[in-house]
Structures are given as C-alpha cells and as structure tokens.
Symmetry: C5
Subunit: 327 residues, 5 copies
C-alpha cells in the first residue's frame, strides 16, 4: 500500500500512514491517492470498507477478480473497473491481463490491483516528479492512468500487427503446421483483446458523455479523447481479425492448391508409366521364347548403363522435389 497526500499550501507527502488519510478525507483542497497493491484481500477490504466507507457490493466487485470492465455510480463516488496489460506480456490467456479497480471521489482516488502495473507506476512517478499534475484533480489522474493503459493496448496491437504481416508474407510461400499454430495464437490474442477493449470503450463513453455529475464538462473532453483512442484500437482489432481469418483461408487455399499439384504429378507419372509397364509385362510373358537376335541389349555394357540410370533416377528426382519444396 502506498499513499499520496496533497494538502493546500503543503508539500506533497508519500506515505503509508492510513490514519492521515482517514482524517483528511473530508477536508477540502486535499487530494488523496491510495494505491492498494499486493496487499492481502482482508487488509484491502478493511481500507475500502472502514476508511472510505464504500458499499459492500462495490468492494466485493473490486476484490473479486471478474475481468469485466464496468463503471457504477454510487452517488459520492464512482466505482470503475478496467483491464490493464503490462508491456511485453502475451495475451494468449485472458487471465494474464490485470484488473485495475478504481474508486473516484471528489478529492480522492483509490486504485486496487493484485499485480504490479507499469501504467500506474508511471503516473505515480510523474506526480512525484511534478506536483502540478495533481492540480487538475482526481479525474485528471484517472485520465492519465487510462491514457497509459490505452498506450499499452496500442503497442500490443502494433506487435500483433507485425505478427500478422509476417504471417501474410509466409503463408503463400511456406504454409506448414508451425504457421497454423502462430495464426491461432494471434487469433486468440485478438479475441482476448477485443473482449477487454469493447466494454472498456463503453466505460469511457459513459465518462465522456456526461452520465456522471462528478465529472465536469472539461474533464469529459479528456475522457472523450481516450474513448476515441479505444474506438480506434477496437477498429484495428476487428480489421486484424478479418485479415487473420483471411490468412487462414489463404492457408487452406494454398494447401489445397499444393495438394492438387501433388496429385497432378502423381497422376501424370502413373498415367505415363502404367501403359509402358503393361507393354513390358506383355512381352515378358512366357508365351514367347527369347530370341537371340538382340543379345547386345542384354549384354554387360547395357547392364552397367542401366545400373547407372537406375541410380541417377532417384537422385534426380530428389533434387527436383527439393526444388519444388516437397522435402
């Protein structure tokens, strides 16, 4: 747990002393940010219930990880739940995302998360470095945090986009099982990301639309800006999903095409040699005795020539197939 306390005409304090928070909540011109992080659930519940007097239901929503972004208006304060990701974290499993629960009052915010969150740390340090960031009030801090989150989404999207482009390059040349695994992994990440973004976008829409009396019109502008970001992220996700589905179609088409080519080769070879083999078989039957007129054909020299051909055929075939990427 860590606490930021800013009082009028006083310097910014970073502490862990809850008592000071308790006494300062009601005061005007005070801004408090309590960041509950890796505290035990019981401890956190105590802080939320006893010090801030939040409603039991909203506290439950915060402490149980639901991974479902939402925003509730509880009169004096807003309860808000967003899903964050840390940089470089893959999203093949939704449980790897981190739930960030935020309580926003007029002069305080409480953030709760069970894992470290780079975005929260960044804003925390920014405020420590430059106190003026606190001047604009509690909602502006929230704006900054959510803006950082949106940036993380953007980076992840760009990372996935690169993956998709790579797949698109490879799929026409070398469609194999490994590519299939990659396609499905990206597909799943996009699915998870979309599941996170869509309701989050709705939360920001509510914040920017003026549904909550606690948010001033000027603050709505900022949330509107993040909302636009999220709309864009969502659109790119949809677009990437379309493209990934397309690559899967391409994959199947290319595999099918290759299968068709392989079968053509097989059929050409079979069609050529089956009749020839029949002919040789026909004249190999014992109805006819071997004549002695063409004995040179079955002489030792011929034999060595034939042997040479027999050895060269598999070698040539091997090289030809390698050139066609069959092996």
């Amino acid at each position: 747990m860590r606490i930021l306390l800013s009082k009028k005409n006083q310097e910014l304090i970073e502490s862990t002393n809850l008592e000071e928070v308790r006494t300062s909540i009601g005061e005007e011109d005070t801004l408090i940010w309590v960041d509950l992080f890796r505290d035990s659930v019981d401890e956190s519940r105590m802080v939320l219930t006893e010090i801030f007097k939040f409603h039991a239901l909203s506290v439950d929503d915060a402490l149980v990880e639901m991974h479902v972004p939402k925003i509730d208006d509880w009169g004096d304060y807003l309860y808000m739940s967003v899903i964050a990701i840390n940089p470089g974290q893959p999203l093949d499993d939704i449980d790897k995302s981190i739930e960030l629960d935020i309580f926003i009052g007029k002069n305080y915010i409480v953030t709760y998360h069970q894992q470290e969150l780079i975005s929260v740390d960044l804003v925390w340090e920014k405020i420590l470095r430059n106190e003026s960031n606190l001047q604009r009030g509690s909602k502006f801090i929230i704006y900054q945090i959510i803006d950082e989150l949106a940036n993380e989404y953007m980076k992840m999207i760009e990372f996935l986009d690169m993956g998709v482009e790579e797949i698109e390059d490879i799929v026409l040349e070398k469609p194999d099982k490994k590519l299939l695994v990659e396609i499905f992994s990206i597909k799943r990440s996009l699915l998870n990301l979309r599941r996170i973004i869509a309701p989050q976008r709705e939360v920001l829409n509510k914040l920017s639309r003026g549904d909550f009396s606690i948010v001033t019109q000027k603050e709505q502008m900022y949330f509107r800006d993040v909302y636009d970001h999220l709309v864009r992220v969502h659109e790119i996700i949809e677009s990437l999903r379309d493209i990934v589905s397309g690559t899967l179609d391409t994959y199947l088409s290319v595999v099918n095409n290759r299968l068709s080519n392989i079968m053509k080769t097989l059929t050409v070879i079979t069609t050529l040699f089956m009749p020839l083999s029949f002919l040789t078989g026909f004249f190999g039957m014992n109805f006819f005795a071997a004549s002695n007129l063409l004995n040179r054909w079955s002489g030792v020299t011929s034999f060595y020539v034939v042997m040479a051909i027999m050895i060269s055929i598999p070698l040539d075939m091997f090289l030809w197939m390698r050139r066609r990427d069959w092996m």
Copy 2:
C-alpha cells in the same frame, strides 16, 4: 412441499401446513416461503390458484415446463421463470436443465421446481441456520437463490473452459474422430448454456433497472450485481464458442495438412519407383535372351540376400510409419 413461516416476534417455523399460510398471507411483518417440489401438478395448481390466487395464465406458465426465462408483472406479485442447473450435470441436452418458477409478493415467495435444486436447498438451509437472512425481505431471498444459480453457471463454464483448453492442446497433435466428438459435445453444451443465459440476463436487467415497483432501489443494486455476473458468463460463453469454432478450423487444417503430407509420400514413392520398374520390365522382355555373363547375380547367395532385403523392407517401413503416427 415445504413451508418457511416467519412472523413478527415469533420464531421461524418450518412446516407443511398450508392453512397457516392461507391465514398469514395478508398479515404485515410476516414472511412466507413456499417451496413446491415434486408435488403433483394438480396439488401445485391448487396451492397456486386457491391459496395465493395467482392468475390462471401465470400458473399455467409455471406448471408447464417451457424452459424459457421470463418475468411478468402481475401487479401484486411478479412471476419469474429461471433455468437452473445442478452441479456436475452435463448440458448436452437442454432438457437436463431445471425450470425454477418463482412468484414474488411483498411478503411471500413461492418457488416451484419439478426436480431437486441444490441452489434452492442451500439458501433454505442458510435461512434455517440464520434467521436474520429473512430480515431483508422476500427479494433478498430471490437474490440469494439467483446468485447461487449464477455460481453454478460459473462452475460449469470453468469446466467447459478446461475441456476447451484440453482440446486445444490435443488438436494439433492428434486430430481424430474422438476429438471431433468431444468438440461437438462442448459446442452443443455452450449452445444450450447460451440459450439459457441470454434471456435470464434480460430478466435480471429488468429487475435491476427498476421496471417493477415491488423492487426497491437498494434491492436493484443486488440484482444489478447478479446481472453483471451473467453478462460476464455470457461473454465467456461467446468467447469460448469462438475458440471452439477455431479448434474445428484447426482440426480441418491439420487433417488437410496431414492428408497433403500422406499424398506427398505416396507421390514421392510412386515417382521414384515407377520409372525404375519400367526399366526392369523393359529388360525383362523376351526380345533379349538372357546372357550367361552375370550369373553370379542370380545365384543362390544373391537370392538369400534379396530375400533378407524383401523381409526387412516392410519391417522398416512399418517402424518409419509408426514414428510418423500413421498407425
């Protein structure tokens, strides 16, 4: 049939005496819960119609199993129908779910279900253990029951999620008919679950939105909470359905890929040996008499060597195919 009767300043009574219910319905400060369970349809109809005077249409809706969640406002009381599942019950057939019909009045609730329902039993016992659960009135009991139902859905979802993950692990390695059966079984369960959840969510939305005068604003909060649960359940279902569809695509891709590889092997083998066989056939024709210069090649030693090779080829092939999972 079992009855819970709580009067002001009196102890909680659990009985089966309908007469007491009849006389207490109008009294203030009384709370009655009648649980109709495994009673004959006629008996139940009698209770609902004659004692509680419910409208014939709502009684019909309760007694005929429609398996379609809904909520109707009948002025004095709400009629509500939800679909429950018992723990551990598979959902490959929608008829395995249990309809729970609930009548909610100001100071009574009537629940009707044709099969035992663990969720109802749990709440019943909780109340018997701790009477204070009745203090918050009839709607709070309903909230507790529906919350238990939502927990059951959650558990089933988690069970299905595990099944999906298992399938995802296997599909790339060993796509066979058994897996196909499993995929389609999970698909069907998800389909059934979605069919149950979607309208139920709507019922709870109505309860939490303040459509019914009988539900106070404070009670709406609780229903809103279950509603959020169901929204999440629904989203996970949709997401799992997407993933299951994805595994089916993977299945087809992998089978196609394998088919392509098998055909490649066939084509390689055929392409290699067809020309060779033609050559041997050519020189086996009776146009040429056998010369005696290379007789060692057709001697007894050769024969035994050839026999050894002929026996070893199928064995080697068998081992090679086994290694490639063909057998």
Copy 3:
C-alpha cells in the same frame, strides 16, 4: 362458407345465410364469425367488400396469397394475416403453408383461408360444443385459433428436433449422400419455419403491447402468452439451425477424416510393395540367366501354393474392407 351467429338471449346458430349477417353487424351483444373457406375469390371479395365494407387494400391483401404475416389497424377493424400449417405436413416448400387472413371487429371476426385448416376447425367445434367460449368476445376466439397454430408449430419443431437428433447419431457412424439429403431437407424446413415465425411473432408482439385500441388490457395478457410461445419456438429454431449447421460440419469432417484414412491405407500399401516389386523386377531382367539351383521354388507344388495364396488374398482383402465399412 360457414357462419356462427350468437345473439343475446338466443341460441347459437350455425348457418350459411349471409343476409342475417348483414343485418346483425351493427347490433350490440351479437357475435358473428364468418369462415370463408374454399369459396371462389369473387364470392369472398363480395362478402368482404359489400357486407363488411372492408377497405379495398385490405381485401386485396387477404385474397392474394402473400404468405407474409402482418397486422394493420383500419380503425373499426384489424386486418391480420398469419401463416398456418396443418399437422403432419412437411415444410420443405413454403407454398405448402396456408395463409389465414383474419378481420377482427368489435363483435365479429371473418376468417379467410383457401385450404382446410385443422386449427380453425378445432376452435369452431369447441365453440359449437360449448357456447360459453363465445362469451369472452371476438379477440378470445382469435387467441384460441392462434394458440392452436402455435401448438402446430411446436409439434413440427419437435418432429424436426427428432430428425436432427437422428442425424446427429448417424453422422459420426455412417456419413453418406442419403444423410446429406436429409440434412438439407431439415435445414430448408427450419429456414421456411423461421421465415413464417419471425414476422408472426412481431404481429403478436403488437397485439400484446397495446398498439390497438380494440384489444383490451386483459386480452393483451392472452396474446402475450402466445407471443412467449412463439419467442420460444423461434429460439428453438435458431438453436436447431445452429445444430444442423454443426452436423454439416461434422459430416465434412468425418468424410475428410475417412478420406485421409483411405489415402493412408493406399499410401501404406504402395509404399510397401513398390520397392518389393522393383526388386523382383530387377532380378527378372534378362541380364542374368536363370540358374537351376533353386528349381524346387518353381516346381508344381509351389505353383499350387502360390495359386492358393493368390485366390485367398482378394478374399481376405474383401473381408477386411467390409469390416472397415468400405463396401
């Protein structure tokens, strides 16, 4: 054409006398039901236009079979068009459904259909048997007819459901062209049924929502009940459509799987025997003269053994293939 005429304090009359209808339309406490059935279009037009004075457009809508459920408010009366099916009638062609056109006034209803309709007959006979069915007025008759229609839909759905289950059982075991035909027939029936139900549901929604002043609040309850029925029917249809699409996917998967297995067998056999055949061919070439040291191998006894093997191989193969359902 047949007419039911119920006047106050008089017995119920079943007649075909139009004049009596003409004179009774304006009277209070009278209830008239005219069922136009297999009458010529001209005759029907005369009745609708001259006796009941319906607007030309609504009469046109009734007489021309559009097979599109709708409801129009013409002030004094409602014009309503629903699609009915008779029991046991397959629905592979939408034209096999029957349009039932209904005009509902305060004290009369006119039904028009070109083919016999069991649902209408049932209600007609019910009224003849028990006059009290008329007490509740014209809209209650309509409710009873539509309720019967909904029952027919329900029965058809159950029939299709059985078909779907049967298909699901067979598809994994024996996917053949016959099954394909069945799948597409059920698919088409569901498509047609959905096309009928969806707008009909909307018609009943309007009736139950209080859009029409002619329908009292109490009567809305009843229409609401049929509406709920139709909602359920529609949901089951959607769900069955999903399952049928699933079986088609299964079908393709199973066929693909089988193809893959067949190709594997082919490849195994070819891979095994091609090298062996090459070897035998190699030593069958005329470069080498036959030695006399192993003559027992080509003796008469060997010949008969070989002949026995050659006859037994196809027989064994045939049995093996039969066991694998290839023939």
Copy 4:
C-alpha cells in the same frame, strides 16, 4: 419527352409542348406529368432547372446515374430515385438496372429515365385509356408506377426461384462446373437485387410513415401496401440467398463425397493387385529356371484366352465406370 396535361373541365392532352407546362404549373386543378426519356442530359437539365425550378443538387442527383434509391424533401416537391428493371432482363450486372428519377409536386410529377421503362409505359397508357386514373392526384400515379416496379421484382424473384429449384434438383445428381457457374450467376443476381431493394424499401417506408407533409394519410395506405410487397420481396431474396449458399455447401459435400468414393475404388484396386503383382514378380525372377511341367499354361490356346481377357477387361471397366457416371 412527352407530356400529359389534365386541366379541370378539359380533356386530357398528350403533347410535347413545354410552354403549356410552364404556364400551367401554378394553376390549381391541373395535373401535369412530364416524362423525360432519352432526351439529352442538357435538354433535361434545362427542363428541370428552368421550367420546374428544381434545386441544382436534386437536378444533379437525377441526371447523374447513381443507382442508389433515395428520397429527399425539398419543401414544395419531393425528389425520389428508384431503380427499375425491365421484364426478362438479367441482373448479373447492376448497371443493367435502370434509374428512375421522380419529382413529385402537388399537381405535377416529372419522371426521368435514360432507357425505356415498361412500367412507366404501362401506367402512361392506362391513364390515356382511362382518364379517371388521374383523379386521385400525382401521388397515385407514383403509387401505380412503383407498384408496377414491384411486380417486375416479383417476376424476377420467381424466375430466380425457379433457377434455384432447378439447381437443387441437379446438385445431388450431377455436380459439375457448369452448375457452379449457374450457382454463382444466381448468387450475383440476388446480391444485386438485394442491393436495389433494401434502400428502396426504406424510401417507401418513409412515404408510408407520414414523413412528408405532401403525402396524405390515405395515400400513405397505398405506399404502405407497396412497402409490404417490398418487405416480402426482400425476405424471399434473403431466403433464396440462404438456399443458394446451402446448394454451394451441398455441391462441395457431394464433390467431396464423390472424391472419397473414387479414392476408395483406387485404394481397393491397388490394395488387391499390389500384393498379387509382387507375387507374380517374385516367381518371375531369374533365380529359378522355368520348369517344363506346366507347359500347357503357356501354350498357344492359353495365349488366345489371355488375349481375350486382356481385351475384355478395359471394355468391362469402361462400361462399369460409365454406369457410375465417371465418364
């Protein structure tokens, strides 16, 4: 260009005299229909701009072929654009449809189309034959024209429906490339038709809903009727599209099925003869000298019998394959 001019107490005039139009526009009890047809764009622009004083934007919309149905309210007049088709015209290309631009004033209508339109001609002649058709005012003429258009759509739909049924009959029996071409041609026609109908339906919805003060409530009834027609046409299109997609699935399933059968035959034949051929090869090797004990087998009589068999096998095979539709 042709003009219909109907003044009070005067006979109907069909002329090409624009001056009379110019002077009559403002008069009451006059009805003018100007049909601009195959006139040059400049001439038409002059008529629309200078005589009727239409706004430049609406004139542009009319003269440039956009093929996008819409309706705009310009105060004194409505500008409306619908897409028509002539009977028997295929719709595989959207450009083969004809744009009909209509300006509707209180006492005039102006129609503009670049190609002959049977529907417009029909209404024109109907009015010439029976002047009373003009009594009901300008909107009634529009209703008649649009009703004719809707009939053309209906006929085209029926034509396409027949095509779909034909395809359904053939697809299970004889799925070939020609059928594929037909399926895709119908698919495209349906796509084009839907693209035309959907916005047109919206135009009529607006006309029938009372969005425009120029349209009386009684006239709305008529447009409502055409609207219902278009709704039905749209529904049938959607339904046909579903069925056509179904036939494509069937096509693929049947082709897949057939492929599977062909491969089975190949595998059966190969599996039978490969081991046999190996055996014959084995005893054809030169390790063993030919014995003379079974010389009758390689005698001349045998030879002729074998020759007969060798000739009959391909013939039999050919007949067998023909019977299985392979050739």
Copy 5:
C-alpha cells in the same frame, strides 16, 4: 504553409505571412484558408495553438496521425479529421492513406496534412482561378474538398471493381496461386477502404443532420449530397466484398473439382492397367517354360514396333494433358 486571404472589397491574396492572418481572424467579411503542409510538427503546433488558439486536445488530434475520421464541436470552431487518398495510390496498407485535419471557423479554415493531397490542390487552384468560390463561405470550401475526396474514393472503387471482374473471368478458367494473391490483395484494399469510409460517412451524416450550429441549413444540403455519395461508396464496397468472398468460394470449388477430375483419371488408369499388369506378371512367372510357337511376337520387327509405341505413348499423353491444362 500557404495562406489564402480574402477581404471585403479587396483582391484575393495568396501569401505565407502569418501576421496578416493573426490580425484578420476577428474581422468580419474576411475569409482565411491556411493550408499547413509538410511543415514541421512544431511549426504547425505553433500556428494552431498561438495564432488560432485551438484547444490543446484538438491540436494533438490533428498533429498525431490517428487515421480515424471524426468530428468534434469546440464551440467557436469544428475540428474534423478525414482520410484521403491520392489518385493511383494502392491501398493494400492503411498507412498509405493520408490524414487530412480540418479546423472550420466562421470565417476561416485550417487544413493540415503531412503529404501532398491532390484534392486540396485542386480546390486551392479552383479558388485562385475563380474568386467567387470563396463567396459561399468556409463550409463551402470544405464541401468542395470532401467532394473531391469522395471522387477519389469512387475512382478507386471503380478500379477495384475492374479487378474483381477480371478475377471473376479468370477464376473458372485458370485458378492458380497468382490469382489467389490477387484476390487477397483486393480483399485487403476493400477492407482498408471500408475502414476509412464507414466513420467518414458518420462524420458527414453529423454535418448534414444539423448537429452543429456553425453549419447553416443550406450548407447541410451540400454535405448531405456528399453523405449520399459515401453511402453509395460504402454499399458498393460491401457488395464487392461479398463478390470477392464469392470468387474465393469459386476458387476452392474449382480447385476441388479439378482435384476430383485428376483423381478420377488416376483411378481410371490404375483400374484399367493393374489387372492387366497382374495378368502379364502371372504368365511371366517361371513356372512355365517359354514355348517356341509364337516366336514371331518376340522377333526384331515386333521390338521396333513396341519401341515406337513406347516412345509415342509419353508424347501422346503429354499432348492430351496439355490440352486439359494440366501442364
């Protein structure tokens, strides 16, 4: 940077002098157009922030390339972002489109774009040539620019349409990998174009609907016109997407069909020659000595005939296959 300055009773000035802009902003009867183009981001920020005093958030939106069309009302001015394309530019990558940011005040517009934009240049030159284009105010300039953009979209659509038609012609005749590449390239272009058009359409809808007090009703007409254009463009895109998906289906069907034909040929050939080969093998076994009765068959003449046949078979096959497009 370039500036157009039009003052009352003065000639139009084209300059780069910012000071004159600064002093003229407040004046009535002045119209200013500042086109920021290829200026550094810092310079542009200075102009937007210091001279025009735009809000920091809107300036950020303009300077950071988001490629997401939107419109924001900032009271005195509108901020608008549209996506433009230059003629002949392929759209396989969304980043090749150009963001055009527009600030619209009562008597000024500011346009900002990082790359040259032909549409902007065209309008600029049009105004220079004919000053009267400025008479209609700032919104009319915007209308002209957006109209030019819409024309570019239209041209691109027509180009893509041609590509689709070409593909449709080829797909049935010659489905190969190159075509696949082309299909997916067009698919991607359509996807990108749709992603650009859809929100842009929404922007114009807002402009034409009267959401902004700055836009007069007459000006709304013009924006409505472009809106209709964009609706049409969007519809054609959707329709082309459907057709492209269709061609992919055709592609797969045709490839599948061809595969089926190839396999048929293979099976026919194998089925014909396998039994024949067995027969020849049978009589080639060393159980039977060669008789001397048919020695002419294995004579030198026969040999040359057989050699001729053996050489002609591959040649004939080659020609036959070429005719069937296999090679």
